[in-house]
Symmetry: C2
Subunit: 124 residues, 2 copies
Amino acid sequence: MKRPRIYNNPENCPVLHTAHILGSKWNPVILYCLMNGNVRFGKFTVLIPTISRKVLSEQLKELEHHGLIIRKVYREKPPRVEYSLSPKGLSIIPVIDAMCAWGRGDMENPASLSVYPKQEISDH
Amino acid sequence: MKRPRIYNNPENCPVLHTAHILGSKWNPVILYCLMNGNVRFGKFTVLIPTISRKVLSEQLKELEHHGLIIRKVYREKPPRVEYSLSPKGLSIIPVIDAMCAWGRGDMENPASLSVYPKQEISDH
DNA sequence: CGGGATCCATTTGGATACTG
DNA sequence: CAGTATCCAAATGGATCCCG
């Protein structure tokens, strides 16, 4: 059976739509962190040590902007900010789970080691 | 139940791993195109009119490099090149399907219309 | 603590022209 | 047809300093 070729129009392509909202490569892992519960800004920098504070801040704003996460400020001293998944963010968990499952399998699969073949297919 | 915090180490984080292999926002939709069968280079530019030939070429090479797609050259005239999913590419279909399903739901859901609240984007 | 503002190097990506 | 090569503008991302 043939799937509709709605990716003809990026505005109407659900895959492109999701990819756009999931955005950069960091957003899935940020959502992944939040699947365990609320996370503070500083905690992210510990959980994902390879992301800079600037990029983290940008990605968090983007996710909040798209309605996937909720930012809650506690006016204490020192100030505390907690991020959590919104209902919409919760709804995207199956996507993150699918990514997690595939990634786990791929990292364990020895076949992945033969991933870099000689791309010499032509005789040129 | 607490999930292991393996995202402490990006090398061992399956979500980050998948995000890295899925790469740019174009790769999921490229794989999506291939779920219907083989696709030629020029066909991609029709299916995804908003991607440039240069970027398309780069993404295809990246996907082939990661072993998700297979590039087959038919020495005819005019030359013909067909891309298809490898077994590894086939194995990632559930991820694409999850993205597709969520994206379809999100595009239909009126709640998505209230996605852009107060927050002003000052940067660009 | 949780950022924002700024500076700057690197990367990305579009446009165009060219090739086998 | 299926790309590659080149140029160049724009976006990205790290480092650093500052602030409430």
